[in-house]
Amino acid sequence: MNPTHYLVLGALLFGIGAVGVLIRRNAIVVFMCIELMLNAVNLTFVTFARMSGQIDGIVIALFVMVVAAAEVVVGLAIIMSIFRSRRSASVDDANLLKY
């Protein structure tokens, strides 16, 4: 099977994730889009590892998964506390970090 398909799929998934992060307002959805981007990158890593026959890409993909897991923990906790204080999970409501 042609590995290029995997790369195209990875790019598509990354693009969907990026657009999701930019246009969606629900913090949970934004978060899931980030996960989507991470996994798109993982797919690309693994594909390149397969194409070059070297193990490096797979190892990095594993690292990304570990970091993503940790990030999920922290990120969800932040979203939880924002929701608790504001009764809203919209990222546009939490706009205090500005001039």
């Binding site: 990026a18 992060v21 930019l22 934004v30 990222v91 546009d92 706009n95 970090l97 500005k98």
Partner: protein, 657 residues
Amino acid sequence: MIQALQVVTAAAPPAASGVTSLAPLVLLLPLIGAVVLMVGGRTVKRVAPLIGCLSVVVAFVLAISIFISTIGMDAASRVSEISLWSWMPVESLQVEFGMRIDPLSLTFMLLITGVGALIHIYSIGYMQHDENRQRFFAYMNLFVAAMLLLVMGNSFLATYAGWEGVGLASYLLIGFWSYKPSAGSAAKKSFVMNRVGDFGFVIGIFIMFTEMGTTSFTGVFANIGEVAKVHPGAVTVMSLCLLLGACAKSGQVPLQAWLPDAMEGPTPVSALIHAATMVTAGVYLITRSAEIYNLTDTGQLVVTIVGAVTIMVGAIAGCGKDDIKKVLAYSTVSQIGYMFLAAGLGTGVYGLAILHLLTHGFFKAGLFLASGSILHGMNEQVNMRHFGGLAKRMPLTFVTMTAGYLAIIGFPYFSGFFSKDPIIEAAFAVGGTKGWLLGMAAAIGAGLTAFYMTRLMIMTFFGDARWKNLKSPDGADYHPHESKSVMTVPMLILALGALFAGGILASGDRLVNWLAPSVGAYVEPHPTILTPGVITWGSVALMVIGAGIAYVLFGMRPVPVTQPVTRNPIILLARAGVGGDAINESLFARPGIWLARTFAYADARGVDGVVDGVGTSIVSISDWWKKWQNGYVRSYALSMLSGTLLIAVALMVVNFS
């Protein structure tokens, strides 16, 4: 850029040996005295005058012993150097700190410590009732130390250090009675006007360094001949720069106006600093730089012109003043003019400048101490119109003043006669129109000297006792009385010097021959346009005429107690100090103020404008830019994404092109 010449390493004078090697101690003693008095506080308060006097007296004794041991040597070996430490070892600027003990510096050491010791002792009495006499003696000792450094240093840089030191001490002592606003402003005036001269001096030293790479006397004198061949202009500029420094320090035209104002200081200060020693530093500098001036006719000509003009300016101004100390101050200006004239006449007669300097040191210090004694007995009144008939009340002061008077007017066979007459002869000996101009200036100056000094004597000591019907500025009656012996004894010693020092020093050309190793052999001037006899007795005749006119004007009719109103332009000119302050005002003050205002304007509009402009534009750019920081996560995410894309695209462009 002028290339420094290949420096000739001159054979340095031999190192000092025997008692001469103790010379640094002469300088150190007054310095220690000054430091002890300054930091000692109350612990030394009771013995402050003792410490002040003792340090100078011991220094004087040391100087005498060095002098005696030097006299015992043959003329050739009388110049020696003491190398102390490496002062400024910076790449090509290697300045050794050391001392040069030769007849010239020894003469000055004796004058400074000798007259200094007498005036210190006099000050015990004069400053007896002053709360701050510890500070007074500290400054006086500081002055003596700085003045000794000025004359003992073996390089122009060391002289410059002493030069600034005496300037500081002079400033502190003029403003000693700082509760008087006039004293404060006089101190500032002297300090600022001396800066003008110091600027010239320091530029002169810079030129020495660029041309010869050294500032030591030995090095400069060994190389100056070579410089004169390659860059004669540089030697002239150097000599004029040094002259500017000398003019400011010695109160010569056009920088003379600070000296009369300096009389705001206590009278011993006027006697020591502004009559006998510091103001003669300019003469020392020119005499010490004899080898430079000998090579430049322009430089020497300017020195003689400055001297001749100053003789006249000082003498004319002295005739118009009623303040006894200001008359003496202008007299100092005029007498130093004689020294400059002699120094400018150059080769062979430098010694005459020093001879007049020494006799002047004696008689002018005596005159000032006597005037201080009068002030002491007359509630610090300085206006001579309040005096009169004091001869009987203050006999010893009168004797001192008379001795100084006979000496300064050049009465035959007293000190001033022996020192002033050769200068007048030397001026005539130049020959031609120049000789006539310089000679007549000097001779007429002698006549004017007799006029204003006779006026001073008559107004102070003779005539009606005008003080009987007047009150002093503080409203008290005058009770003139003779001063204590601690004041009169130093006065009388100086009076003896005023009477006989000139004869002793001049007989057999003793002094000028003694100075020969430092300033070159003495060549007796032979005036051709007039015979020496005519000159001598002609100036004596002028002196008698001057004194006679003064007697007719002030001795034969009563002196008004207030200054009479007059329209006589000569009298008005004299009262205005011959425009000394006007020159300052127009030459230095106004351009200075104008320059300062221009700079202030340029600073407010130019510099501040640029600085403020940079700030304002950065603020307005940020105001626009900060709109990006809107707080929405997605806009931050977009900027991150676009940044990443930008980098990716840039990498691709680089890799694939």
